[in-house]
Each structure stands twice: as structure tokens, then as C-alpha cells.
Amino acid sequence: MTGAPDAALALRVEDLSVSVGGRRVLAQVSFTLAPGELCGLIGANGSGNTTLLRSLLGFVAPSGGTIRLGGDGARRLGYLPQKVSVDPFMPLRARDVVALGLDGHRLGLPLPSRQRRARVDAALAAVSAEAFADRRIGTLSGGQQQRVFIAHALVRRPQLLLLDEPLASLDPSSATEIATLLRRISRDTGIAVLMSAHEINTLVPVMDRVIYLAGGRAAAGPVAEVIRSDVLSRLYGHHIDVLDVHGRILVVPAPGAGHDHTHVTRVP
């Protein structure tokens, strides 16, 4: 409508560099994300996943580059931190947590309204959390809490959802469930989802794009164009094999490279 070439993008990051505590963590990272896309942010521990997400949120000031959010100009981001440790005595039910996502930043006492309740219910339904909506948040399992916090992030209808290792503490079947759920939500609502993981396996079937972080630099694009021997070798600066073993991909760094993550991956 505006005619600007970026109008259709949810996020455009160009040459983003970030230093933390005097150390360069990210160097000239570039990628784009369209509405409705689900993008995996993959990197070994300490490679800068959290730093990238926090700089997109404005918590960490970049030392260079640009971050542009698309959409209507309103800055509406949903966020799931890597670790939300809920006090067991927090007097909040799951639905109260989601309601705080809707209007917890507002001043004054909340007035109960049918519309407010409907939006909270819809967000809880989107993550299939109706069954434990009225239970105290601190008494829910890790996977249940994860769903509630995703609903908390969704309820304001963000243009971009940033999730920091949402699958890390989950058993494989819950991880697959949440990944599939996020896939469905991004498709249905047009929300762009950027989620980090140290483990690529679960994400491959659901992600449209991948950002692969190593040594502060990033390779980004569709999975089939990034998880390749030549691309990852260039990124790491030494030889990396990407093997196709009966429809599964094995990412094998050269010995002594200091990276111990061998990914066993299904071909998308």
C-alpha cells in the first residue's frame, strides 16, 4: 500500500553488530522475516541467540546496523524469555498471567469486561491451555507454563513473536507439540515467529527459514539453502560436513573446532 519495498516484511535486520561487556557477540548479522513465517535461530550455547533476541527487543543497544519492524508502525512484540522462574506463591492463575499480557502495563485497577475475557479465552484456546486456565501458574508443569507464556505473548496480537528456547525444557513429544502449535499460530494469524534453539531437530519440520549463528556471524535463508556443507563451512571458517543419512541430515564439524554440536536432522 505504501509502495515501500519493505512494507510486506515483519522484520528487516541489516548488518547488526552487538557487543556485550566489551566483547563482540554478533557481527554484521542480516536477515528478513515475512508475516506468517516461522524462523529458527540456531546456534551452540553462547553463540548469541539470546543477545540477538534481546537486541531486537531493545534491551541491548546494537553497536552497528539497523533493525526495522514492519506493520502498522506500532511496536508490538511478544516475548518469551529463556527462563521465567515463577514463584510458586504468585497469586495468579494461568488466565491472570494471560490477562497481564493484555493490559498489565496499564495503570489503575482492571475492570472486568466481556471483551477482555474473550480475548484471554481466545489466547488460551490458541495454545490449548483451557484445561488448566484456572490453575495457579506456579503449580503447572514446564510445558504447561510454556503454553501459558506463549498465550501471554500472543494476546496483544504482536506483529513479531520472539521466543528464547521455548522447547529447551520439554520432553521430545511436548517439544514437537509446541513447535507444531507455533507453526499453526504463525500461519493462521500472520504473526512472524522467531524462535531460538540449540537443537535443530525439532524445528526442521516446522520452520520456513533458519538463522544459523556461529562465531558471531550468521547464515540466513530457507533451511535447504543454509544447512549445507559449503554455507556452514564458510560460516565456521573450517570444513563442515552436512551428511544426508537415509533422509536425515548430520551436521559434523571438523574435530578440534571447538564446536561439539552434531545435529541429526531430517531433510525438510
Binding site: L57, F59, L77, G78, Y79, P81, V84, V86, D87, F89, M90, P91, L92, R93, D96, V97, L100, G101, D103, G104, H105, R106, L107, G108, L109, P110, R135, R136, H152, R156
Partner: protein, 289 residues
């Protein structure tokens, strides 16, 4: 109900003032106590409460209401804490400990002066442990102003306080100004401490803030109910304690127990009963299931 009260109880002016001001103070303290516990600031509360004793001792020497003294000194300590906001909880405990120690040093001096100087109250025990029956009509207006301000801050910032205690980053993403919320909370906290100190003394004021809120958080999982329960428990503790102190004249043949002891005793008793009752109720439910 009223007929069950001892003869003359409600006709006594000191009892009337104690019930009105003490009840109001207990409600404000209990309400402010809820977000305070959720923010993990029980230790900060205890430190500010103790330091406020310096203000209570200073008040008669500089000719201000005791409430003003309590609030002034705990506010000064709170601002000292806010001047260097800590990154981690461990660091905050360290700072709180330092402010606690320094403040008590000042309190030692002011309490000494309060007892020894001609203009002083000579009542150090009253500053530290309170004397709710000494409150008078002149205390009602300052108490109403301080309590009203604390309640207004609480009502205004309740939601951001809840969100920030759930997770500060989540609050920041939604545009909550964490610093402002922290200051609003500290302001409400110092006002509540001042009010509580006015009734049960600086040292015991923590009990009015923490005990009802702690029980309420165990008993319910909804924020609005937690606040109402805390307020109810605080009020019951204060009124029950005042009644118990009045009756103790009879029980001890004229010696009587200090009101602050009675108030805290009833508060703790209510807490125990609530915890026990909840345990029994759960057991019963499990048995029925």
C-alpha cells in the same frame, strides 16, 4: 455481636482511636504487603521498618508528628537503596544490609537523644514497640493522608507491579517503566511502614506488612482475593489484639499486656489457623476424592 464485647470497651476514647487508626493502618499495611512479598522485598521491609525508628525518635525533638518521623526516615533509607539499583538479588541483600546497619546506628543516637534531651518523648520503648492506646484524635488526619496516598499508589500501579514481579523483562516488553514502578512501590511501602509503626512501633511494623500478606498468598491464587484476604486478616489481627489487650487487664489483675504483643499474637495465631485450616481442607478433599 457487639453485645459480646466487654462492658465499656467501645465507650473508651483511647479504644476508639486505636480501633479506627489501628484498623486503617493494619489494612493499608496488609494491602501494601502483598506486592511487597511478590517483589521479594520482605528483607527490605524489615530494614526500612527498623530504620524508621530513628525518625520516630527524632520526631518529638524537631516537633513533628511521629508518623512524619517514621515515614521520613524510612523514605530516606529507601532512596538510599534506590540510588544504586542492584542488578541481582544477592547484591540487593548486601545493600539492604548496609542501609539496615547504618540506619540502626543513627537510630541508636536519636533514641538516646529522645530519652535524654528535654524536648524528647522519653519513650524509646514506644518508638520501637508502639503504644496504640496513646493515639489521639490529632493522629487521624495524618494517618488518613498517608494511608490514602499509599492506597492510591497501590491502585494505580497494581497491574504493572504484578507484571514486573512475574518477570521484569516481560513488563519491559509491554512498555512498563520498571524504575517508576519500583519508586511507586517504595513510596507506598514507606507510608505503610510509617502507619504501622505508629500503631505497633517501628520494630513490629514488619509484622503488619508481612504476616497477613504471607497468609493470603498461601490461601488464594487470585490477586484480588489475596488483597482482600490480607486486608481482612490484618484488620482482624489489629482489632482482636486491641480487644485482647483490653481484656488482659482482667486476666492479669491490673497489669495488662502490651497491646503490640497482643496484636502480633493474634496475627500469628490467625496465620497458623489459616495454614492449618488449609492443610486440613486439602487433606479432606484428598480423602473425598
Amino acid at each position: 455481636m457487639l453485645g459480646l464485647l466487654p462492658v465499656g470497651f467501645l465507650d473508651s476514647a483511647p479504644v476508639q482511636h486505636a480501633l479506627v487508626i489501628g484498623g486503617f493502618a493494619a489494612v493499608v499495611a496488609a494491602l501494601v504487603g502483598v506486592p511487597t512479598l511478590l517483589r521479594g522485598q520482605a528483607f527490605v521491609t524489615d530494614a526500612l521498618a527498623h530504620v524508621s525508628s530513628a525518625g520516630g525518635a527524632l520526631a518529638p525533638l524537631i516537633g513533628i508528628n511521629a508518623l512524619g518521623g517514621f515515614v521520613l526516615m524510612s523514605l530516606a533509607a529507601a532512596l538510599g537503596l534506590e540510588a544504586a539499583p542492584p542488578r541481582q538479588r544477592a547484591e540487593r541483600d548486601l545493600q539492604t544490609g548496609a542501609v539496615f546497619g547504618a540506619g540502626l546506628g543513627v537510630a541508636a543516637l536519636f533514641l538516646y537523644l529522645d530519652v535524654t534531651l528535654p524536648g524528647g518523648s522519653g519513650n524509646a520503648v514506644g518508638v520501637l514497640f508502639g503504644s496504640v492506646f496513646l493515639l489521639g484524635a490529632s493522629d487521624i488526619l495524618p494517618a488518613a493522608l498517608a494511608g490514602g496516598a499509599a492506597l492510591a499508589l497501590l491502585a494505580l500501579y497494581l497491574r504493572p507491579m504484578l507484571l514486573a514481579s512475574l518477570d521484569p523483562d516481560l513488563a519491559a516488553v509491554q512498555g512498563v517503566r520498571l524504575r517508576r514502578v519500583g519508586l511507586a512501590h517504595l513510596a507506598a511501602l514507606t507510608l505503610a511502614i510509617g502507619l504501622a509503626a505508629m500503631t505497633v512501633g517501628a520494630v513490629l511494623s514488619t509484622a503488619l506488612l508481612v504476616a497477613p500478606a504471607a497468609a493470603a498468598l498461601v490461601l488464594t491464587d487470585r490477586p484480588a482475593r489475596a488483597l482482600m484476604l490480607a486486608a481482612g486478616l490484618g484488620l482482624a489481627g489489629m482489632w482482636g489484639g486491641i480487644l485482647m489487650a483490653w481484656q488482659s487487664y482482667v486476666w492479669t489483675a491490673g497489669h495488662a499486656w502490651p497491646a503490640s504483643f497482643c496484636i502480633v499474637a493474634v496475627l500469628i495465631g490467625l496465620n497458623l489457623a489459616a495454614t492449618l485450616g488449609r492443610g486440613l481442607w486439602r487433606l479432606g478433599r484428598r480423602g473425598a476424592a
